[in-house]
Symmetry: C3
Subunit: 141 residues, 3 copies
């Protein structure tokens, strides 16, 4: 049984989904671990992780609109020292995922055909974000 650990640094461009499927898949493929468990961990509380449809970009627009509607800016939050978009960002992060665990088979995460892995930036301004990737497994079951 083997392990691998990697820090993935990303730039975001304001609120929205940044697809990381390609980078994650390439890193997994390079670890010589055919079967195992991949974990992604987002080291932030105003950005998060999400597995969502990778086909129609309208899905992403509708998702963003939903989270804006359910946790809007200016809803009378007590916490506003870091800007009006900060508390909505914490709420949207709480409603999505800080971490994802994905089994790996044949050297690839077992994503479905329409699934992509996304970093979900919730702040209005561009940010540098860091995701930790961990893989544990072996060359075969």
């Amino acid at each position: 049984m083997r392990q691998a650990l990697h820090h993935l640094a990303l730039s975001t461009h304001g609120a929205g989904l940044v697809e990381i499927t390609g980078e994650v898949t390439r890193w997994v493929a390079a670890q010589r671990i055919d079967t195992g468990l991949l974990t992604l961990f987002c080291r932030h509380t105003s950005a998060s992780l999400l597995i969502q449809e990778n086909a129609d970009p309208d899905v992403q627009a509708d998702l963003l609109a939903f989270f804006r509607r359910i946790a809007p800016e200016g809803a009378g939050y007590v916490h506003d020292a870091e800007g009006p978009d900060d508390m909505p960002a914490h709420i949207r992060a709480a409603l999505t995922q800080t971490q994802l665990g994905i089994p790996v088979a044949n050297g690839r995460p077992v994503l479905g055909t329409w699934q992509g892995i996304y970093l979900f930036e919730h702040r209005a301004a561009p940010h540098r974000r860091e995701i930790v990737l961990h893989l544990i497994g072996d060359m075969a079951v």
Copy 2:
């Protein structure tokens, strides 16, 4: 340390919770891994996973009503080429889980007394769904 991997195929009957605790528990019991980590991964973006109360079926009815209320059909979504229930399904999946990690002790997932594992179908029509189960561990700590 050992691993096991399994594809669980399920039929759903429209929007609702399908309990899979029994199938999952039986598969784990057959792997001869006493202590370890079980991961369930749902290969879809319009269905998801949920651990919820397994006692009173009214809890399930209220959960469904909540998700219908918070992400209703016909809320002016841009994405509607796959039907009016598709975009609400993506939102409801984003608010619940694509994956679950559950420690295993004495050959069983360490679920609490009232916890059941459910596939949460968000589409209106019946679907074939696939969940990947991964188990890593050993005969003892």
Copy 3:
């Protein structure tokens, strides 16, 4: 490769976040596993887990207010035999996490600077809660 398993029992004092970062970090540090994967699992359906900001307590107050607003008591739930706060508790648990997976490096969970691990009590009355901790890994990558 090694494993460790631990049951963490906690008392809560009604609805709110109980920080467990310190207890979890100390337990991990004592396992002599430098690199690995930590999993936390909450054995309840009316309490959950959350990684959130550990700096400004106002964030917690705003989070609680958000979940009260989105899943209020007295919203016409069918399930009310266990009290008016029980069904909102199940909904709030469904919207947050029953489990968290966190990579471990240098004997510590790889939390970001502002991240704390919290048990999220959703019931109004104090409860005894149980979280299972599982760690798998090795002394080095």
